[in-house]
Structure formats: C-alpha cells, structure tokens
Subunit: 205 residues, 2 copies
C-alpha cells in the first residue's frame, strides 16, 4: 500500500471519530451537566450583602420575576405581588429600616408580598407564607445563576418591619411584605457554608 493511502485512511478514521465525538459529546455533556449545574447552583448559593454600583438590566430583573412566579403555590393560588425597587432614596430607607442587614449598597430590591385577596380560606390562608418563601428561594437561586448576589431579609411577621416597609413602598392593606431581597453585582466573594449535618435527618425504612 502506498504511504499516501495509509495517511488518507488514518486521517479519514480520525475525522470520523472526531465528528462522532462532536455529535455525541455536546448533547451528553449538556444533559449530564444540567443536573450538575442545578445542584451546584443550589449548593454554592450564599448570601451576598455588598454590591458594586452596576445596575441590573431589565432582562435580568424579568428573569428574576419569572423565576419567582414559577414557584409552586397551594392550589395554584399564586398569592403574591413582587415590588421591584430601583429608586435609590427608597432603597436607602429600606436599608435604614433593617439595621442589621447591611443592604445599603444594593442597586435593586425585590419585596416579596403576600396578596391576601388570593389566599385560601381558613387555616390554609397561612400557606401564602410557604408560597412566597418558595418564590423568594427561586429568585435567590436565579440571581446566583445569573452571577448576581442577593440576600433575604425577613420582614413578616415582625410588626415594626411590616409597618415601615408598607409605608415606604405604598402597599395596600391586602398586601403583606414577607421579605426584602437585596440584589446587585457582588462586591464580595464569601465561601458558601457547608450546612450538611447528618443529625438533621433520619430515615424510616
């Protein structure tokens, strides 16, 4: 066999393998990595309380709101309202009303509120707290995925915090602020806490 024929055969076989690799790896890597990406995002999210001056884009804010509204809610009542605060003086006043939370550098906040006109009746009314907390966690996870930093500051049921916030962002009587999520581009890079604790679960076989 001529040496040129050997080279052609070797190159053709190598090219075939390369094309197969391209066609399969990409899909496999993406499918396999989707679960890893989601789990890793959950495990590495941590509270960020210091931010740069860079504002959020409208697209980023919409993604965060879509994530919040995708949360599950009891009987699909979606008993929530989201108030996006970009106004700097109001952000400063919110920060001042939450003295231990160091939110003053945030460029944006989302106040997650329960909408009492959409809750279930009776004792199930309180499920709005579960629903709005799930929405809050979705927003925190989406922010982390977008390489933003965020922190959850609890408001309800602290009556002073509820009243102050209600006034600052002009909430109606039927809306209750559950929490403030301060958001921005991170200006700190804390190590995520390892909170795995085998004493915190048991199995009934």
């Amino acid at each position: 066999m001529k040496s040129s024929t050997i080279i052609i055969v070797v190159l053709a076989v190598a090219l075939l393998f390369a094309v197969i690799k391209i066609l399969t790896t990409s899909k496999q890597a993406l499918a396999g990595s989707n679960a890893d990406a989601v789990i890793s995002n959950i495990m590495t999210r941590t509270s960020i309380r210091s931010y740069t001056d860079e504002p959020l884009t409208d697209s980023q804010i919409e993604t965060l709101l879509r994530a919040g509204m995708a949360a599950p809610s009891a009987v699909n009542k979606q008993p929530w309202k989201f108030v996006v605060v970009k106004n700097k003086p109001i952000l400063q006043q919110i920060a001042d009303s939450l003295p231990n939370t160091r939110l003053s550098s945030a460029v944006c906040a989302i106040v997650v509120c329960g909408d009492m006109t959409k809750t279930l009746d009776g004792v199930a009314r309180e499920f709005w707290i579960h629903d709005c907390s799930a929405a809050t966690e979705n927003i925190l996870l989406a922010a982390h995925a977008l390489e933003l930093g965020a922190v959850w500051a609890g408001i309800f049921p602290n009556p002073d915090r509820v009243d102050k916030l209600r006034g600052l962002i002009d909430l109606s009587e039927t809306q209750i602020p559950l929490c403030v999520i301060a958001i921005g581009h991170p200006a700190e890079n804390p190590t995520p806490k390892d909170k795995w604790n085998q004493e915190n679960y048991r199995v009934i076989e």
Copy 2:
C-alpha cells in the same frame, strides 16, 4: 498536485477544525448553559402526583437532603429536621391522611419539619416557616433536576394534619411538620404551568 495530496490536505484541515471544535465547544456550551440549565429547571418544574414503583437510590436521597440543607435560614439557625419515609405502610397512611393530594403511589416522602429548639426568639421564631419552605423548594428543584417527580403537600398550620403526621412519624414535641414532599419516578408528564403575570409585579423607579 496529485489527487491523493489534495485528499490528505482536505482531510487534515477538516480534522484540525474538528479538534478545535471539540476543544472549545464543550467548555463554552457548559459555561453558557449553566445559567440556562438553572433557570430552565426552575421554569419547567411542576407538581408530579403519580409515580412508578422504582425506588429512589440512596445517592438520590442524599442529594435531595443536601439540597434542602443548603437553603438559607434566618441568622443561619438551620431550624429544620428532615424525615425520609421509605416504609410503604406509613407512606400509605400519610397518603390517606391527605385525601386530596393523591400521594398513595409515592415510593418516598420527605417530611420537612421545623426544629423549635433552634429557632430565633420572639416574633422572629416564625422565620422557621420561611427557612423550611426555602429548604422544601430546594428539594423540589433538585428532584426535578434528577428527573424525579415530586409534590409539596402543606401540613402546618393545619392542626389536624400536624397531629396526624406527628403520630405517624413519631415526632418529638419540639418538631413541627411543615409539609410532606412526595417523591418518585414520574408516571405522568404534565405541562408546566405558565404563571407569568405582569399584574403581579410593579417597579418603583
């Protein structure tokens, strides 16, 4: 130029491009897709109430518990206990105690409980509900990423549900069941709800 030389050159150039493609695509696709994977996982999660008989692996259960324990909690109190129920008769009794939730085919349930020995004091005690709800949402999102199906059934503050569940899984007085997450391999494929609603947010510029 001989035709064999032309073929060698063409093959070599094609191989070079293929190798470059292999070396670059994979990394780019992964980096770019991490945020997409996380957001997509949030947007496509939906309640699954029908499951196959296939059990969960220990590794899957540990991943779900790790996701739950990675949730944020007020002042990092981690005021939670997770009870994994694999015992079929107890699962059936839990299902029977929640008649409208169709959980009887679940192969596993995680009962997310508040640990009252670890809460904050005063009115901030109630933040355990926020914390355990965030943990629940993390578990639901991790389950979806692992291609499992799950559904959140609210327990607290319904006193009948709390009492029944407390007895079934032998909870101490300091532990309050917030919810039951039924989990299994999906035997249904419902379309995720589009819950985006522009009336559910406003912006303060």
